[in-house]
């Protein structure tokens, strides 16, 4: 478990300054998770920094590269917090794609993004863009993934209340076998947790119950899904639905199952911004257009990530995606973050 440097300090001022330090210490090197270079025939290089794993995102890159063969594409995968820091530090990237829409929003709000306009961005619904700075190109729900083996004989929960009941009634089954995001590390996990805490009071009760079960904390959806698929986890809570679906499509073997909570589902928008210091602005704009065209597609899925429409038009739950707006910055405030993390730690770490 990796702890970020939030010193729960003496004075609020110190905390804020340290918060700034966190961004500003320019953490010398970027913590790169994955990297791939697609050489083009020309000199220009489109440098993309993204939180999307290559497994799901490579088709998009190949699709774009096929359309613009002259362009070299340099694709770097980092965590959402790293991405946020990199853009704030003014690292040289032409396009930033992130699943942490609150951090993306803050970048745009604070002036680290430049505006872009095209017919594709004009076609976006209002909720899928903010000014001409942020553009959403997927809508992705947070889901619960369960191991069918380890859930055998248990009723499948459809709501958080039912999930709480199942966990509480069978502590032995789930001891050490429940996984969720470490919200201290994962920007996306933090976004899901805060939005959920705001929208449903079942979140804290669920966290309390999970806290008693010695939960495993993860940085990323993929590891959680892997562990569920291999039976190390019985249940992973708040996993990116798109990753889970992709994994299910690859090798299901019937060992995994995706549950969508009916009482409330967080729907995250994967967003793109063009950093203020971008060089290949034109190519970045073309990439955004391509992503939006795919995002607004009508035809059945051949793409790993879900389109913009699916959840926006409201499935049974009828919840729209998380709204883009200044309210996203509320939980990014260091004081609020500290308060939230304190409460979260109290709930989840009860040993």
């Amino acid at each position: 478990m990796r702890h970020t440097g939030f010193s729960f300090g003496l004075n609020a001022v110190v905390i804020w300054l340290c918060g700034l330090c966190l961004w500003a210490t320019a953490a010398v090197a970027l913590e790169i998770e994955d990297h791939r270079h697609y050489p083009g025939t020309g000199d220009r290089v489109l440098r993309i920094v993204s939180t999307a794993d290559l497994e799901v995102f490579e088709p998009y890159l190949l699709y774009f590269h096929a359309a613009h063969p002259a362009l070299s594409i340099d694709y770097t995968v980092v965590s959402s917090a790293e991405l946020h820091r990199a853009i704030r530090d003014g690292r040289a990237f032409d396009l930033a794609l992130s699943s942490a829409m609150d951090l993306q929003f803050q970048l745009a709000n604070d002036g680290f993004a430049q505006s872009y306009r095209s017919s594709a961005t004009e076609a976006l619904p209002d909720w899928a863009r903010w000014r001409d700075l942020i553009f959403a190109f997927t809508t992705e729900p947070a889901v619960v993934v369960i191991s069918t083996e380890r859930f055998e004989g248990l009723p499948l929960p459809a709501t958080r209340q039912e999930l709480i009941t199942v966990l509480r009634d069978n502590p032995d089954w789930f001891q050490g076998a429940v996984g969720t995001y470490d919200v201290r590390n994962s920007g996306l996990g933090y976004l899901f947790a805060t939005q959920e805490a705001r929208s449903t009071d079942a979140y804290w009760r669920l966290s309390e119950v999970m806290g008693r079960l010695d939960p495993q904390l993860y940085c990323c959806s993929r590891q959680m899904i892997d562990d569920v698929a291999e039976g190390r986890l019985a249940l992973a809570y708040n996993v990116l639905g798109s990753y889970a679906a992709e994994r299910l499509a690859q090798d299901s073997g019937g060992r995994m199952r995706i549950l969508r909570m009916q009482d409330f589902t967080n729907v995250m928008l994967r967003t793109a911004i063009i950093p203020a210091g971008a060089v290949e602005v034109e190519a970045a704009g073309q990439m955004i257009d391509a992503l939006l065209l795919v995002g607004l597609r009508q035809e059945p899925d051949i793409w790993p990530l879900p389109p913009l429409r699916a959840t926006a038009e409201g499935e049974s739950a009828g919840f729209g995606p998380i709204r883009m707006g200044p309210a996203l910055m509320v939980y990014l405030d260091p004081l609020n973050r500290r308060a939230f993390l304190e409460e979260w730690e109290n709930a989840l770490e009860q040993r």
Binding site: W16, D110, M329, V330, L335
Partner: protein
Amino acid sequence: MTGSASIERRLTVLLAGVAALLSILSWGMVTGLARQAAERTQDNVLAASATAIAETLRSEQGEVRLELPYSAFSMLGAISEDRVFYRVATGEALLTGYADLPVPAISPPAQGRVVFDTGDYRGAQVRMASVMRQVLAGGAPVSVTVTVAQTRNGIRAIAGELSQLAAMLSVAFFVVAVTLSAVAARTSLRPLNEIAQAVSRRGPNDLRPLRRAAPAELAPLMTALNRLMERLGQSLRRSEDFIVEAAHRVRTPLATVRAQAEIALRSVEDETEKQRLRRMIRAVDESSRSAGQLLDHATVAYRAEDLARDLIDLADLAAQTADALAPTAAMKDIEIRLETVPATVRGDAVLLENALRNVLDNAIKYSAEDTTVTLRVRRPTDTEARIEVIDQGPGLGTGPVEQLTERFRRGQNTQGIVGSGLGLTIAEDVIRAHGGRLELGQGPDGRGACVTLVFLLA
């Protein structure tokens, strides 16, 4: 007609100018109001947001704590897509937010009062709302200032849209106003045009005063016009009176001269002298005839104004007229042939006799000796009666036929024959006054003239 520009155009342009001015004024006002309303809305939301944040301020173990409420920021996102910045500080020490955000100087520091200011931050103009609140921390009151700022692009865009809408409405208003102005100008000038038409529709001899409802502004014009026509009528009457008087005065001494000349003719033996006296008598005849025609013309002018409507048989009229002119015809051995059917018309017997006599007299005058003049009354249709006077003279010549009925105008082949040129004028005036018309043409076999009085039967 020349002169200054048309009143209608001037009025329209003037009204259009006023409309344009009003349009621009209203557009400016709406734009200003829209902007003000948008800015006030933003101010209110900023104030509400800052207050909401300030309300979460509390003291915990001697430290000032706060929690940014979700609603404080979501309300800012609700009005427009503007960037949001905030700052919470005690004095100079920052609690949270953007350290370098400028803060409106609150003076004097008053608890709970919201202060607004506009400034520049991160390359954009921002509107700031600041509220101060005192919190007890560690036993001592600490002043905490909460500042919330928002860029104004979205607000401006909203105001701009409203302004654009107002501009479109103003243009529409202007177009409608111009159309209505043109209609109004035309409507208000209509009485003037109607009077002008009424005057120009009138016949040449119609000098009756205009009697029609006119707007007050046109009453002086009407009065002046009527007075002018009255004076014109009077002077016309005076000159006709003068002509009548003159003709009378000439005719009587002429009769005396003629009588004396006839007596002299009888008493003179010498053939040369006789010839001279006959020429004299003929000249006197012509003169008295001209005087008679002048009198006739004046009579027509008088009586046509107030026409009698007696029943008259045209056959009788033809017979009487033929009788009256028989001696004149006899002098040239001209036979007057009457071919009549009964045809009754309504009219003024004196005038009709006058007209027919003049036509017949003309025919006799221009006919050669020992010829025939035919006087025919016909009713070719139920609605028309005609008196045709056909002679075997030289015809009416090749000049324009219409000119022959003008006063003192004579045909082109009348050389050598004495005449005043009034005969056909009198005939036409009479027949016009009776609602008919005068037709001039050639005789049936292409020789001579045919003058027709055409009456329309009611």
